[in-house]
């Protein structure tokens, strides 16, 4: 060994020319591997397959940790059961059950409408779950915390970040196909089977099942890939963070206005309609290609920025005087600091506002009074509550709460603080939206009721999510028992609100539903209008809203019983 003359010296920052790191420079510094045989890192398929297999195992364990084995098995069974019942119920929706309801001649829904109703929510779900670039960044930033995931492995191991992300995309796709889509198709099969065993009629055919399964996989893959692409572009910074949302809003409006054929936009629906093998292959390849391009956009950047910031906690705390002097105020202030410092407030505000801007844009361009379902200001109010689940989920993954285990705090306090943060961070957007919508639709009379419904519904959905799922909503989606309660708790009140809103209070419409639809189809729903019935409908909606607020207060109280002994962990 010879180390003579070797120096380790520092210089001042300005002494060294401000040039880019020497990745471009071809000149070697003169180091050598000596007798060590150098290895090439695994790339391409070998790196992908090695990572994918282990990631799949990791995902199974992650889900099991929260949901436990019993619920994990119950969840697909529940989906199968619900789909089997829906399959049997299809005869009433498509009016093909002449054997049982002989007086219905005209169809209430077309198959095309039902297919659309299957694919659109699936696309929305997958768009919400596919922001893998954000997830990857979070995994890398938090890799020194108490939990570490394979998605952060490229920081230390010779594995390209892009390969790890593509493996994650395929892993999630496979997992959802296995746990959601396949049980749904199995449920359809059970429904058809009952036709021969129990003499129950269903219009669904065996031959349509493989196509439905494949078409749903395509829609799922498309949604995940598009969300992956959007998040990957967002992580690249400007100009994508400016033009990306604008493009999405424009696209959303264009789709809403029917400028694009929906079969072309929803690849899965197109495949299900055409049943073309070539179309299937192309749509699958296109989804995978979008996923692959998105992963190629992920760079090997493991920087965790060290930035000094001005004190935020105390100024925010001081502004929250209306929350009293308890711990909630302090935790809410801390959550807001997390939200701002992590940059998530921008991300969340944009993703919360985009669908609303699309709706607003559509309202600007379309006369909804002529639409088959008369969407009005009151219909939007309960709709806004749906965004609560996603926003609350994000709030729970901002920071690891483990450090709170050593503080004199309880999990219910943190959960309540997150609900408050959700309300404070989003309610102003919802309020602006609903006022703009009232202006556009010229429905000022419905505005006070809409605001009450909107706030009641938002608070209720988030309180219910928080009560049922605590600090781990993302992991609760495979827990059958939680999802049953969530479904019951949301579908019943929301359905009531929607139905009341569509008729502008004309509740009698639903009394003679069968008769009216058989006469004029869905277009008949806007036919009757009676001022006294409108008032009755408004009262009904306000009554439901009051009930939702009371239910939220009850859930708020019960939080201690459900989560009082839980440990801080997400």
């Amino acid at each position: 060994m010879n180390v003579s003359g070797v120096s380790v010296v520092s210089r001042d920052w300005d002494e060294v020319a401000d040039v880019q790191p020497a990745s471009e420079s071809g000149n070697s510094l003169g180091t050598s591997a000596h007798d060590q045989q150098l290895h090439e890192p695994l790339r391409g398929w070998s790196a992908f397959s090695t990572t994918f297999r282990v990631m799949f195992k990791e995902e199974g364990r992650k889900s099991l940790e929260f949901a436990k084995k019993r619920q994990m098995v119950l969840f697909p069974l529940l989906l199968t059961l619900v789909t089997a019942i829906t399959t049997i119920g299809l005869q009433f929706l498509v009016g093909d059950s002449s054997a049982q309801v002989s007086d219905i001649e005209s169809k209430t829904f077309t198959w095309q409408e039902l297919r659309f109703a299957l694919h659109l929510p699936l696309l929305m779900f997958s768009l919400g779950m596919g922001t893998f670039a954000f997830m990857g960044h979070d995994a890398i930033v938090h890799r020194s915390g108490t939990k570490n995931y394979l998605l952060a492995a490229p920081a230390l191991q010779p594995l390209p970040n892009s390969v790890a992300h593509f493996a994650y995309f395929i892993k999630d796709l496979s997992f959802y196909v296995m746990l959601i889509l396949s049980p749904v198709v199995a449920g359809m099969a059970v429904g058809i089977l009952l036709e021969s065993l129990a003499g129950i009629s269903t219009p669904l055919e065996w031959s349509s099942l493989p196509w439905t399964w494949i078409a749903m996989i395509i829609t799922l893959a498309q949604g995940l890939a598009l969300a992956f692409l959007a998040s990957a572009l967002w992580m690249r910074g400007r100009p994508f963070t400016i033009f990306g949302p604008m493009l999405i809003v424009a696209l959303g409006i264009a789709i809403g206005l029917g400028k694009f054929d929906i079969g072309t936009m929803l690849w899965g629906l197109g495949v299900q309609n055409s049943q073309s093998i070539l179309g299937t292959v192309l749509a699958l390849l296109a989804s995978l290609a979008v996923g692959l391009c998105s992963s190629a956009l992920i760079i090997d950047d493991f920087d965790v920025s060290v930035v000094e910031r001005a004190e935020l906690l105390t100024p925010i705390y001081n502004r929250l005087g209306f929350l009293g002097k308890g711990e909630i105020r302090l935790i809410v202030a801390k959550e807001f600091v997390d939200l701002i410092r992590s940059g998530s407030i921008k991300k969340m505000t944009v993703s919360y506002a985009i669908p609303l801007l699309v709706l607003l844009g559509m309202a600007w361009l379309v006369d909804f009074a002529e639409a088959p379902i008369p969407i009005n200001l009151l219909s939007y109010a309960p709709f806004l509550g749906f965004f609560g689940f996603n926003f609350y989920s994000w709030l729970t993954i901002l920071d690891s709460p483990e450090f709170m285990n050593g503080l004199p705090l309880g999990v219910p306090q943190l959960i309540r603080a997150k609900v408050v943060v959700y309300f404070l961070a989003t309610s102003w957007i919802s309020l602006i939206f609903i006022v703009l919508m009232a202006w556009r639709l010229d429905e000022w009379g419905a505005l006070p009721t809409s605001i009450i419904v909107m706030f009641a519904n938002s608070i209720y959905i988030v309180a219910l999510t928080a009560f049922l799922m605590g600090l781990r909503p993302n992991k609760a989606i495979f827990d059958a028992s939680i999802m049953i309660w969530f479904w019951i708790g949301t579908v019943i009140p929301l359905l009531l609100l929607f139905l009341l809103s569509f008729t502008q209070g004309d509740v009698s419409l639903y009394g003679n539903w069968w008769e009216r639809t058989s006469e004029g189809g869905l277009a008949a729903t806007a036919a009757m209008y009676d001022q006294s019935m409108v008032e009755q409908g408004y009262k009904g909606m306000i009554a439901i809203s009051v009930a939702l607020i009371l239910a939220s207060a009850l859930l708020w109280k019960l939080m201690d019983r459900r989560w009082g002994r839980a440990e801080f962990s997400n």
Partner: protein, 263 residues
């Protein structure tokens, strides 16, 4: 340059800035084959940034870095494929068992006799009883052992260790220390970051002391001492800009406070 004298690691004006904060001022460093090189400094001195830049985990704001003849800025994957890294505070993936994680790392690094190697390191670190326990349920020390095993499993000649013994019990600290010294004797090279000066005394043949992102002094352990009586701790206190009297006064105040509390 004569091949035998060529360094394994070399950085020229390597620097890192986060926004306006300079984490590491431009510095030059060379590490040669067979060296046990240590970087020491107080908390937040820039030690981890130093090691992360050399191992391709971070992209430098300035300068050039080369490891084993590979440009660490343009091809960090290849650098990672040929070295072993033990990070300061990172844990193995929470939902994998030690065996699964080591298998994953060994496959990525195309280790021959994979199962044999995994079993060897599981046994070496005394993790037999925890082999099928998920890493999230291991103690800090056990997780550290898994990370060490993952860095050793492909038998790299060049190892980068950031506070490698922070959570290990004295028995395994000793066992690892012996293994590392043996590794260097057999031609291996080690780059270590720590604030535990005892490690420098016991293991390093060359060291650098850094503070606020700047190298304050570098050389052999012996060479850094002004006199025979000066300890490495004295050297450290002197270099980071505190007087020994100040530090002793702070320690005395601490003892007085404790005495007052007890009274």
């Amino acid at each position: 340059m004569v091949e035998s004298l060529a360094p394994l690691v070399m950085a020229e004006d390597m620097a890192k800035k986060y926004g306006d904060f300079i984490a590491l001022h431009p510095l030059n460093v060379e590490v040669h084959a067979g060296e046990f090189f240590g970087v020491f400094g107080p908390n937040g001195a820039g030690k981890s940034t130093f090691i992360k830049l050399l191992t391709g985990q971070l992209r430098p704001s300035k300068g050039r870095i080369e490891v084993l003849g590979i440009n660490a800025v343009s091809d960090p994957q290849k650098v990672k494929a040929n070295i072993g890294i033990v990070p300061e505070s990172e844990s193995p993936p929470s939902f994998l068992t030690p065996v699964e994680f080591l298998e994953f790392v060994a496959k990525l690094r195309t280790v021959e006799n994979l199962n044999e190697q995994v079993e060897h390191w599981i046994e070496w670190f005394g993790l037999e009883e925890k082999r099928d326990t998920m890493c999230k349920d291991l103690s800090k020390g056990q997780r550290q052992k898994v990370m060490l095993a993952a860095a050793f499993i492909h038998k790299p000649k060049l190892l980068f260790l950031d506070e490698p013994f922070a959570n290990l019990d004295p028995i395994y600290q000793r066992k690892c220390r012996h293994w590392l010294l043996e590794h260097v004797k057999n031609g291996g090279t080690i780059f270590l970051c720590s604030h535990v000066l005892e490690m420098a005394e016991r293991m390093c043949n060359r060291m650098a002391i850094i503070n606020n992102g700047k190298v304050l002094a570098a050389g052999t352990v012996k060479g850094l001492k002004k006199s025979k009586d000066e300890t490495l701790e004295d050297v450290f206190i002197r270099l980071v800009g505190r007087s020994i009297e100040d530090v002793e006064r702070l320690s005395d105040e601490g003892v007085k406070d404790k005495d007052n509390e007890e009274e």
